[in-house]
């Protein structure tokens, strides 16, 4: 039986991992992720979850343990935040390159220096090119559902998946959600399978040094070079979008929730102005949109649910004919612009009637994102008839600066 309960986002994630029957958990404490792995260690110690908990000495080792376990044929899980994610960066690339179907929760937090324990998206954005699928949850229900779907996606396409959710806004916040029934989850999520499981009876040497060029194997069959392997990762990561939609459809049939695996629009149908954001920030815009709609402005908000692979065509189709797209994000590529903004701009470039684009940087290192500020900046952007120079239009606006 599914169960309705109220709990923290970290506990929601832990319960999803328990339902997914991950068998090896390795993690290193870091705020605000810590309670998630505390919960898993507690579930395992209490015998409520049948798994190995490995208390490792670093995040680098945490993902190392998962790489070992997953390569040896067992479903593994880890979680981290911020500098912990950066510390395991090398392992992220490694897991993707060896096509390990891992799932990791990243409880998003700003990166030091200076130290900040508060939320933004810079940690995840810094790893966008690692070859991991990156999805962003907006509430506890999505944490649970996305985590379960992430395991299935990872294991179908053999690409690791990072489930992102906002530190504190979700991790430490209590809100209601529904926990699916264990038996139905078992039916939804088949048993773990890795294409190259380490096995003394079928020995293979995994992740061997690979030459720039294709090379014949001992049977004279041509095998890929490094670039071919990486091209395949890219191609299949693009193809994973489709699989993600299929998984969502199946999930919806079984659990009654879903339908917005890639884009989650709110009042976007006839909108002239569309806000694009990820995570809780997108939800925070609901009230703002309602208010501006009441004032007669045709505004909507589009939550981007999956950031890598970037749903280039899907989002461009959705936005190509609106007047303006306003990208609000909690991170940026320093010295340039918001990473999401730049991605969106490039996705829309081939379309002749592409909309105006504006970029807003908010909430870095946990800076309060006032709903009133969102309302004011959005309203101003919508009413702004006289446009500035291309460079001015393209320059990100920082909201909430205090100096």
């Amino acid at each position: 039986m599914s169960e309705k309960l109220i709990d923290s986002g970290n506990n929601a994630a832990a319960m999803a991992v328990q339902l997914a029957a991950a068998e090896v958990i390795a993690a290193y404490p870091i705020t605000p992720q810590t309670p998630l792995t505390e919960k898993l260690s507690e579930l395992i110690a209490a015998g409520k979850m049948d798994a190995e908990y490995v208390a490792v000495e670093s995040e680098h080792s945490a993902l190392g343990v998962c790489i070992g376990a997953a390569s040896a044929g067992v479903r593994a899980f880890t979680a981290t935040s911020s500098n912990g994610l950066l510390y395991m960066s090398e392992q992220l690339h490694w897991a993707a390159g060896s096509r390990l179907p891992l799932v990791m929760c990243v409880v998003n937090r700003g990166i030091g220096a200076p130290w900040s324990v508060w939320n933004d998206h810079q940690d995840a954005m810094s790893q966008r090119d690692a070859g991991w699928i990156q999805i962003f949850a907006k509430d506890h229900q999505e944490i649970v559902d996305m985590t379960l779907k992430a395991f299935r996606l990872a294991e179908l396409v053999h690409i690791p998946v990072m489930v992102n959710y906002d530190g504190y806004y979700l991790s430490h916040t209590y809100m209601p959600f529904e926990l699916p029934d264990a038996q139905t989850v078992r039916e939804f999520l088949p048993t773990y399978d890795y294409a190259h499981t380490l096995d003394p009876e079928k020995p293979e040497s995994l992740n061997t040094v690979t030459l720039p060029d294709a090379r014949n194997d001992i049977n004279g069959v041509k095998q890929p070079g490094y670039m071919d392997i990486r091209h395949n990762l890219h191609q299949e990561m693009r193809l994973a979008l489709q699989v993600w939609e299929e998984i969502d459809a199946d999930f919806q049939q079984r659990f009654g929730r879903g339908g917005t695996p890639i884009l989650d629009p709110y009042r976007c149908d006839d909108a002239d102005f569309v806000v694009v954001a990820m995570g809780t920030l997108a939800n925070q815009f609901h009230d703002v949109v309602d208010r501006l709609r009441d004032e007669g402005l045709k505004v909507g908000v589009l939550a981007l649910q999956i950031y890598r692979p970037f749903p280039t065509a899907i989002i461009a189709e959705a936005l190509q004919s609106v007047k303006a797209v306003l990208v609000y994000e909690k991170g940026l590529s320093y010295g340039n612009q918001g990473a999401l903004y730049a991605d969106l701009k490039s996705a829309l470039y081939p379309y002749p009637n592409r909309p105006q684009l504006h970029n807003f940087i908010v909430g870095l290192g946990g800076r309060d994102i006032g709903t009133e500020d969102l309302y004011q900046t959005l309203k101003t952007a919508c009413l702004q008839e006289a446009l500035g120079t291309p460079e001015q239009n393209d320059t990100p606006q920082w909201i909430g600066l205090q100096l």
């Binding site: 109220i6 324990v117 508060w118 979700l170 916040t173 209590y174 809100m175 925070q284 009230d287 709903t371």
Partner: protein, 197 residues
Amino acid sequence: MQDDPQQMIQIRWHGRGGQGAITAAKVVAEATFKSGYGGVVMAPTFGTERRGAPVSTSLKISREKIYDLSPIRFPDIVVVLDYLILNEVDVTVGLKPGGLLIINSPRPLRDHQFPDYRVAVANVTKLGIEAGLRKGIVNSGIIGALGKAGGLVDIEMLSRCIAAEFVGRKPEENVRAAQLVYAATQISEPSRGAANA
């Protein structure tokens, strides 16, 4: 206020690190959720919590799903787990006129003059000891004051949720503390006659 589905009730809790303000807010969140509120969001102070330092926690309650998780700026109710915090923190910041201020204090109600607000006072610390708790355990007791003055959830539901939260940690004594406080809480109406929040 419960009849309007759009209405959100926002409660801000002030305590000290280690006093259990988060646990108290969690219990109330659970109780309101179980009483049929579909939107309940309890967000603790974000960041580095340290024992003894003032902390605050926010609880938003609504019939509908809550999308805005930003911190509470204009609370309807403020709960203070230790009256000494009144000297350190302006707990009434943003509190709507006519809003409710609940204080754990050994002093009588008349010593806590807030003309714009309804004020509820109980000696939660003392009643907790009477209920059989260790000195300084106030988080279960203060829920009784909120139950009495807030009118959101009945004391039976609150008691059930307290018992569930404190499993293995003197659940009966904690429930008794809440019930003693419920009975002892004294309430004064705003003297400046502001509208009810």
